[in-house]
């Protein structure tokens, strides 16, 4: 493990930001710290950087306990949420700052800054001030500035939060590519699931100051271990008593079930539906055009489900009675989640 946190605790007054946090990160990986706001992810990042001190526990980087090493000596690159560019310095001076502080010689500083400006594609903007840059450009400067002193570890706090949607998409792939190319171990914090899934090699899911689950995005998405992780991705619906939906086996002590939109098939009464016999009736309460699909809110008894339909399927209108079939769902027992499939799917495969 290159970066390791062992039993880290941190409180701000009564608020427990980190509750016995432990995890390890391998060298060269791009790690996403994902959780809702207030889940303690930024605190973890700031403790690794040395901007906060843990109340107890150890932070180890490259085999050394760094708890007592001041932030300035940790050789960590940090990209702030609002970039925190030095507003009275030009792009060039911003990137050169960390090198000048180190008292490197002028020539090598100039070489390195030019190299980085080329790397982030900001040629010709050296003399501009941060206020003269767009959000995406600021982000690139912040990235170059953090990388200038050649840090072994790069930390990014909500790196895309302050950028508009279109540019964000572009920057995500750009950043991932950059980090891959440079091979620098990186940790970024985000509350955006799509962003985390797309960018990270591995995810650490935080909630209420604790770590819920760690693993690759695919693993976590497909096999959520806890109730929180199961409900965190996508527009999940919570079902109290899932046995009202047909052909699901019973799980002992189940508290509730979680369904993702892609687990649900909505069909019109007259439409072909292979599992008609296992479907239940529901009433459409709301339809919402989402661009690439139509989002439906369907009521089955006292349960509201969010599902999607493709644009080329027959249109369903509000108030219509439809068939609702659920392929699979996450059943939660206490804080644990397990996936169960609809039994009719299995029968079907046996028949074929």
């Amino acid at each position: 493990m290159y970066v390791e946190l062992k039993n880290i605790n941190k409180s701000f007054g009564d608020f427990k930001a980190s509750d016995n946090i432990s995890f390890g990160i391998e060298k060269g990986k791009l790690i996403g710290l994902l959780g809702p706001s207030g889940s303690g992810k930024t605190t973890i990042l700031r403790m690794i950087a040395g901007l906060e001190t843990p109340d107890s526990g150890e932070i180890i980087i490259d085999g050394k306990v760094i708890n007592n090493i001041p932030a300035s000596k940790r050789e960590i690159g940090f990209v702030f949420q609002n970039y925190a560019l030095f507003r009275y310095m030009t792009v060039y001076e911003n990137i050169a700052f960390g090198l000048r502080v180190r008292k490197n010689d002028k020539k090598s500083i100039d070489k390195r800054v030019k190299e980085l400006i080329n790397l982030v594609g900001l040629e010709g903007m050296e003399k501009r001030y941060p206020s003269q840059l767009s959000g995406g450009q600021k982000q690139r400067v912040a990235f170059a500035r953090a990388l200038a002193p050649n840090p072994q570890l790069l930390l990014l706090d909500e790196p895309f939060a302050a950028i508009d949607a279109k540019v964000r998409q572009e920057l995500r792939s750009w950043l991932k590519e950059m980090i891959l190319k440079l091979g620098v171990t990186s940790i970024f914090v985000t509350h955006d699931q799509d962003e985390a899934i797309e960018v990270a090699d591995e995810l650490i899911i935080t909630n209420n100051g604790k770590i819920e689950q760690t693993g690759t995005p695919l693993e976590i998405y497909q096999n959520p271990e806890t109730a929180f992780t199961a409900s965190f991705f996508g527009q999940t619906s919570i079902i109290g008593d899932y046995t009202r939906f047909k052909t699901f086996s019973k799980v002992e002590n189940a508290s509730s079930a979680i369904v993702r939109p892609e687990f649900i098939k909505i069909t019109k009464k007259g439409e072909v539906q292979k599992f008609r016999s296992s479907a239940v009736s529901g009433i459409v309460e709301r339809t919402l055009f989402r661009g690439s699909n139509i989002e439906l809110t369907v009521r089955v008894g006292d349960v509201l489900l969010t599902a999607r339909r493709a644009l080329d399927e027959p249109i369903i209108s509000v108030g219509e009675t439809v068939d609702v079939f659920i392929y699979r769902l996450f059943v939660t027992v206490g804080n644990k989640a397990r996936i169960i499939e609809n039994e009719s799917l299995r029968e079907n495969s046996i028949v074929i």
């Binding site: 950087a49 040395g50 901007l51 932030a71 300035s72 000596k73 940790r74 960590i76 690159g77 940090f78 702030f80 609002n82 925190a84 560019l85 030095f86 507003r87 009275y88 310095m89 700052f97 960390g98 502080v101 180190r102 500035r145 002193p149």
Partner: protein
């Protein structure tokens, strides 16, 4: 129609403001100058170059310079600690900084008189150490420092607050020392507010009358500042010298005003 109405309102408001400015600001200023020059240039020159006037000017300058120096240091420290750190009693401290502008200067003077005067329990010790505060220059400086206490920190706190701590943290992470961070990151940001605070502080220090009046003892040539000197001359019915000395204060104020406008203008340009 609506446009007409708003035009009338516009000129009415401008007219009233101009009238007020003329009546309460320009007219008195004009009176001061004309009264000062009533007996001719020679009388004016005599009043201004009077031995006691000169010493009053120097004392005023001395008190102002010391007050500005002390409050610059204090103001920076106070504004910095209030905006960049979290600590117990922070609210109390920000409130206390404002005491000098809310308390009447006369009361401030009395407080120092009671703290360092004959009735004070520490008076014997001061006496033994041969330190005289009341009715001496240190008392005047003390009173001036007190009344101008909040000016610089009050200018800096909002600017520092709006800046946050991100830039400083970023610089610290890159290995910059505290001094470098202040010099390269924080100071460029607060520069204009800082200068503006100094200008305000100096203006207030020069004109201070109440607290200084209580502590000075009005010893001519020793503990008389310009405003006190004006009062003495006026009480002696020596109107021309009184106005002549006043005109010096007015000129100092005008210089400060010009500096202030320049600072403000350049500060805006730098934004």
């Amino acid at each position: 129609m609506k446009n007409e109405g708003s035009k009338i309102v516009k000129w009415l408001l401008i007219g009233i403001s101009l009238l007020f400015a003329f009546l309460f600001l320009l007219l008195p200023l004009f009176t001061v100058i004309s009264e000062a020059l009533r007996n001719g240039w020679a009388a004016y020159k005599e009043a201004v170059t009077d031995e006691y006037t000169i010493s009053a000017i120097w004392l005023t300058v001395e008190a102002t310079v010391i007050a500005v120096l002390i409050n610059t240091i204090f103001g920076l420290f106070a504004a910095w600690s209030v905006t960049k750190f979290y600590f117990r009693g922070k609210k109390l401290m920000t409130t206390m900084i404002d005491i000098p502008v809310t308390v009447s200067p006369i009361i401030a003077g009395l407080i120092f008189l009671l703290t360092f005067g004959r009735q004070s329990p520490i008076y014997p010790y001061l006496q033994a150490a041969n330190i005289q505060i009341v009715f001496a220059v240190p008392g005047i400086v003390l009173a001036t420092v007190f009344v101008t206490f909040p000016f610089i920190s009050r200018e800096l706190i909002p600017v520092l607050e709006s800046q946050g701590t991100d830039e400083e943290e970023a610089a610290a992470l890159m290995g910059a020392s505290g001094l470098t961070i202040f010099r390269r990151v924080t100071f460029p940001h607060i520069k204009w507010a800082f200068l503006y605070g100094i200008v305000l502080c100096a203006a207030r220090a020069m004109g201070e009358f109440g607290a200084v009046s209580v502590l000075s003892g009005h010893l001519r040539g020793k503990t008389n500042t310009l405003p006190l000197h004006v009062e003495i001359l006026f009480n002696e019915f020596r109107y021309v010298p009184a106005f002549a000395v006043s005109s010096i204060l007015v000129m100092m104020a005008v210089v400060i005003l010009i500096i202030r406008s320049v600072v403000e203008y350049r500060g805006k340009g730098a934004e």
